[in-house]
Every structure is written in structure tokens, then in C-alpha cells.
């Protein structure tokens, strides 16, 4: 743990229990659920400085700071949340929630189904972005907040932020959409399907009921994550980081020592780490929510009509080397917002690390984000 004046320090996750049933987009409902979340900074007297962080596919509530002194790594968005950082906790009260369907404490496939007394596993209802918006809103009300200063999300998180702007236009003043899209392309869905197939073809998958057998489809999940990880990086970024460097072996004639490229062991390491800590049913559920998201579906496929419902201001950011959620997808969001006559700013950040760039420190990204968040503060004072 490295705590400096820009760190939120040690944070303790909290749990909010909801006994009001929630109707889900799929037609089913959850009678009760729990949300695990973290907060950073202080809520002001008028409750006007609250920010909601929406996480992406494999994210969770732990966005900033450390859980204890022995933590080697801080939360997933620590570079952007903290005192003096773009999401400045000296000014904002930041709420970061683990979505339902997740596997980090909020109700999801590994939770107990109250009707059966057993873990839900693959019987957990399929979810859409709007279900997360509903549950995030329930938490908002439980915390006594009537309106977010901003709802912020990257990737799948950006989809939730946009859904917020359409569903509850009066309950947020700013919507910040980073490396996201109004809907996935066929290629993007294809990668998600490869990931799902990797999981479901694992011998330990048991059609999604692996917990009943006391096992987990770790090989499949590992493979899914490895494929995913490649698509979250860029060719140049990988080249910079790993090149063709070897971990073991060499190419000298006469040497038959086994050769291992650094990228190979890196991918395996990431895959192993992920498959030890993430639930396969959650991965399937989250990738499907990504695939199903289509911002304008219920607005006659007209994004301009969709965004006409929004009344907040928007900041849209994309990264030049991101090919999974390419700048073109962000420009489509911006064009629709401009055509719908909504206030929007857009920057295309030069970055080498593909889709993952939204998580990585980058001077221009920080400057633009900071400048915009300063506006959010100034408007509120």
C-alpha cells in the first residue's frame, strides 16, 4: 500500500440491504437484494456533490484506495479518484457500487436464492443495464441523494451512465461516458461469444451449476479472460510492453530449451488471477448485458430521439488505439447528442493501451477530465 496526499487511503466496503422487490427487464423479479458499495469524500449539506461510478464488465465497488495496509494494489480507478485527482474527493462524495449479478458481494449468481435455499448459479435472472440503473437508484435514495452531480462510467459503465441520462433525466446534472458505445458491433459480440464458449466448454462448467459439484470452470474462464485481455490492449501497446522478449529459452541453433515469450506468461498470469477471483456465471451474465445493450432500441433505433430525453450535460472520451470500443463509436454518441441539441464535449485521447487506456494514467486524459470536473464543481458553488 502506498498512501500519499492524493489517495483516499483505507476504505471499508459497506452493504445495503433492500427488501423491496425489484422488477427486472427480463420480466422476472428479485424479492430482495444486497448492494456492496464504497464511498469516498463527504456528502455536503445540500447533498448536491454526489457522484456515481458505474463499473465495467469485470469491475466492482473497489474503485479507489486500499482495503488494508497489506494491499499491494489500490482500487481499479485509483488514478482518477482521490484528493486532487479528476474526481476530486475534496469536493465530491463518490459512490462506487458493485452491480447486482456481480461476484464481489452484491446479490448475484453465487448468492443464495431465497426460494430454494441454494446458490442461484445460472438460474440468476439475466440482467440489462437498466436493471443496474434501477438498483443504483435504490441505493441513491437510501443514501438520501436526490440528484447526482455526475454519473460516470467507462465501457459497460458508460452504457449505464447513458441509460441514467435517458431514464432519470432530472436526477443527474452531468453524464461522463468514457470508451463506450451506444451498442456493440457484431465483432464485439463475437469476442464475447468466444469467451462464453470457452467457459461453457470447460468440463467443470456443468451447464452453469458447477457450484453444486464443488468445482469451477477455471480453465474456461482463464481462456475467456486471455482472449478478452488481448482485445482490451492494442498491437502497439502490447509491442511496447512485451515485444518479442523471452522469459525462457533462446533461438540459438543447437539449443532445444523450451521457449516462452513474455506475452505468453503474462496472459496466463492474468488469466489465472482472474479465474481465481471471478465467477463464471457472472462473466456470462455481464457479457450478455453488454451484447443486449442498445441505447436507442426503444426509440425506433433513433439515437437522436433517445438523447432528446436527456437534460444533463455530457462529456464523451475515447482513446485512439481502442479498437474494442473505437473512437468511431464515441463519435456516434457525440453526433447524436449534437443533433439532439444537448450540451456535449468530446476529446479523443492519444493513447497506446487500447481499451484499457481508460484505466491507465495519461496526462491529456487527466487534464481534460480534470477541466470538466472543475466545471461540475464550479456550477455547484
Amino acid at each position: 500500500m502506498t498512501v500519499d496526499e492524493h489517495s483516499v487511503g483505507i476504505v471499508i466496503p459497506q452493504t445495503q440491504y433492500f427488501d423491496q422487490p425489484i422488477e427486472l427487464a427480463c420480466g422476472r423479479s428479485l424479492k430482495q437484494y444486497e448492494l456492496v458499495y464504497e464511498t469516498y469524500g463527504e456528502l455536503n449539506a445540500s447533498c448536491s456533490n454526489a457522484i456515481l461510478i458505474c463499473h465495467a464488465l469485470s469491475g466492482h465497488h473497489h474503485a479507489a484506495g486500499y482495503h488494508d495496509e497489506n494491499d499491494s494494489k489500490p482500487g481499479w480507478w485509483n488514478s482518477y479518484i482521490g484528493p486532487g485527482k479528476p474526481i476530486d474527493t475534496n469536493h465530491f462524495f463518490v459512490v462506487s457500487v458493485n452491480n447486482i449479478g456481480g461476484c464481489h458481494g452484491s446479490t448475484g449468481p453465487t448468492s443464495i436464492n431465497p426460494d430454494t435455499g441454494k446458490a442461484w448459479q445460472r438460474d440468476f435472472p439475466p440482467l440489462r443495464c437498466r436493471d443496474w440503473v434501477e438498483t443504483q437508484r435504490a441505493l441513491m435514495q437510501a443514501l438520501g441523494i436526490n440528484q447526482w452531480a455526475a454519473v460516470i462510467g467507462g465501457s459497460l459503465g458508460g452504457m449505464q451512465a447513458m441509460r441514467w441520462a435517458l431514464e432519470y433525466p432530472d436526477e443527474l446534472r452531468h453524464c461522463i461516458v468514457i470508451a463506450s458505445a451506444m451498442k456493440l458491433t457484431a465483432q464485439n459480440i463475437a469476442f464475447n461469444e468466444v469467451a462464453r464458449q470457452a467457459i461453457s466448454s470447460d468440463i467443470n462448467f456443468y451447464n452453469g451449476y458447477y457450484m453444486d459439484h464443488g468445482v469451477a470452470p477455471k480453465q474456461g474462464l482463464r481462456l475467456a479472460r486471455m482472449v478478452g485481455h488481448i482485445t482490451y490492449l492494442s498491437e502497439d501497446g502490447m509491442g511496447q510492453k512485451f515485444g518479442r522478449e523471452l522469459n525462457t529459452g533462446n533461438f540459438e541453433l543447437g539449443s532445444d530449451e523450451e521457449i516462452e515469450f513474455k506475452i505468453e506468461s503474462y496472459l496466463r498470469y492474468r488469466g489465472d488471477k482472474f479465474s481465481d477471483s471471478f465467477d463464471a456465471n457472472t462473466y456470462i451474465l455481464m457479457t450478455k448485458a453488454l451484447d443486449y445493450f442498445d441505447l436507442a432500441r426503444e426509440y425506433n433505433d433513433d439515437p437522436v430521439a433517445a438523447f432528446s430525453n436527456a437534460s444533463c450535460s455530457f462529456l464523451v472520451l475515447s482513446f485512439t488505439s481502442d479498437w474494442r470500443f473505437s473512437p468511431q463509436r464515441s463519435r456516434e454518441i457525440v453526433d447524436a447528442l449534437v443533433a439532439a441539441n444537448k450540451p456535449v464535449s468530446y476529446a479523443e485521447i492519444k493513447a497506446d493501451f487500447g481499451h484499457d487506456a481508460f484505466l491507465i494514467p495519461n496526462q491529456r486524459y487527466q487534464d481534460v477530465f480534470h477541466a470538466y470536473m472543475k466545471r461540475v464543481i464550479e456550477e455547484n458553488t
Partner: protein, 196 residues
């Protein structure tokens, strides 16, 4: 503030929806948003200027004008402005067409290459003019399509563009008598308010 930017606001109706192509650090949009309550959005390509716009509360979209403007809908803005960017474009005439498609009216300003100092520089020294207003060498200048007041008006005739207002400004005063009488010789900066 640059003289052409002081001129422009008088041609804009209050509360107009404005698109400012090459908005720089947002100085014009900030002025007209504040003074005549326009609803303005800027297009810019320079990262630092974009950040500056955002800090000022100016809405700005990162986009390269040379890549076209087909993402903007027909007649979706009351007025489209392009101040001192015309000469930097790869195809200025096509951008003007696009401006007139997107905006009900347009304002274009540019440095007048036929100003007497340019003529003198070229005729006396036989070299491309370098001045306070055009501080670049010919080989590294962003200004790749210089034109003159007469050139621009000829283009308007060719394209059947109506000139609603025009003004040329000199080095110091806003609009000198000589500039009015002989704009192509005494105008440093030309500003045109046009429509189809």
C-alpha cells in the same frame, strides 16, 4: 481580442445556435454565449485548446475539419462560424459548401493576402511574406490556401453565395476609410457574413 472576433458578434442574433469551426481556446464562443446568450459549440483539433475550452465551460468537440463535416445535420445550426481557419484547410471550397449546408447563415474570416504589405514584401523581396499576422515560413506554415478579398468574392459568385455583410479591418483601427474604399489593398483581415 482579434479584430475579426470583435466584428462577428454584431452579425449574430441573440440566442442563436452556433457552431464555431476551429474555435481555438473558445474566446469567441465565451463572449457571445455570455453577451448574446448564444448556444454555442466549438470544433477544435488542438488538445491544449480543447482543454482550455472545457475549463471555460465552452462545449467543444474534437474533430479535424479536413476530415469533413458530414456528421452534422442539414440546417441544424442558426449560424456556422469559421474564423481564421479557411486558409489552413485542404479543400476550403468544400468546407464552405458544408458550412452552408449545416448553417442557415455563415461567417467566414480570413487574412487578406492582397494587403499592401504582402504585395510590397513579395514585390520588393521576392519572398513569401512573413509578418506579425502571418508569422510562418512558407515550408512550415499551417496556412496552405491563402486567398484575397477578391478571390473570396469571386468564389461567392461562382457558388451563388449571397454576401449579407462584409467588413475588412486594418492593422489597428476596426475599419479604416481606406479599408472601406479599397478592401483588397488595405484590409488585413476580411470577414464575410454569407448564406445561400
Amino acid at each position: 481580442m482579434r479584430l475579426d472576433l470583435q466584428l462577428i458578434p454584431s452579425w449574430i442574433k441573440p440566442k442563436s445556435r452556433v457552431l464555431d469551426l476551429g474555435c481555438g481556446n473558445g474566446v469567441l464562443l465565451e463572449k457571445i454565449n455570455r453577451e448574446i446568450q448564444t448556444d454555442g459549440i466549438g470544433i477544435e483539433i488542438d488538445p491544449e485548446r480543447i482543454t482550455e475550452c472545457i475549463s471555460k465551460g465552452i462545449n467543444v468537440v474534437e474533430q479535424d475539419l479536413n476530415q469533413g463535416l458530414s456528421n452534422f445535420q442539414d440546417q441544424s445550426f442558426d449560424i456556422v462560424i469559421m474564423a481564421h481557419a479557411l486558409q489552413t484547410l485542404r479543400s476550403p471550397h468544400l468546407v464552405i459548401d458544408e458550412m452552408l449546408r449545416i448553417g442557415k447563415e455563415c461567417i467566414v474570416t480570413f487574412p487578406n493576402f492582397a494587403h499592401w504589405t504582402c504585395r510590397l514584401h513579395l514585390s520588393q523581396q521576392g519572398k513569401m511574406p512573413v509578418s506579425k499576422f502571418m508569422p510562418y515560413n512558407w515550408y512550415d506554415t499551417p496556412n496552405i490556401h491563402f486567398c484575397t478579398v477578391n478571390d473570396f468574392e469571386a468564389l461567392c459568385v461562382e457558388k451563388n453565395i449571397r454576401i449579407l455583410d462584409k467588413a475588412v479591418v486594418g492593422n489597428d483601427s476596426s475599419q479604416s476609410l481606406l479599408g472601406k474604399l479599397m478592401p483588397n489593398l488595405f484590409g488585413v483581415t476580411a470577414a464575410y457574413h454569407i448564406s445561400l
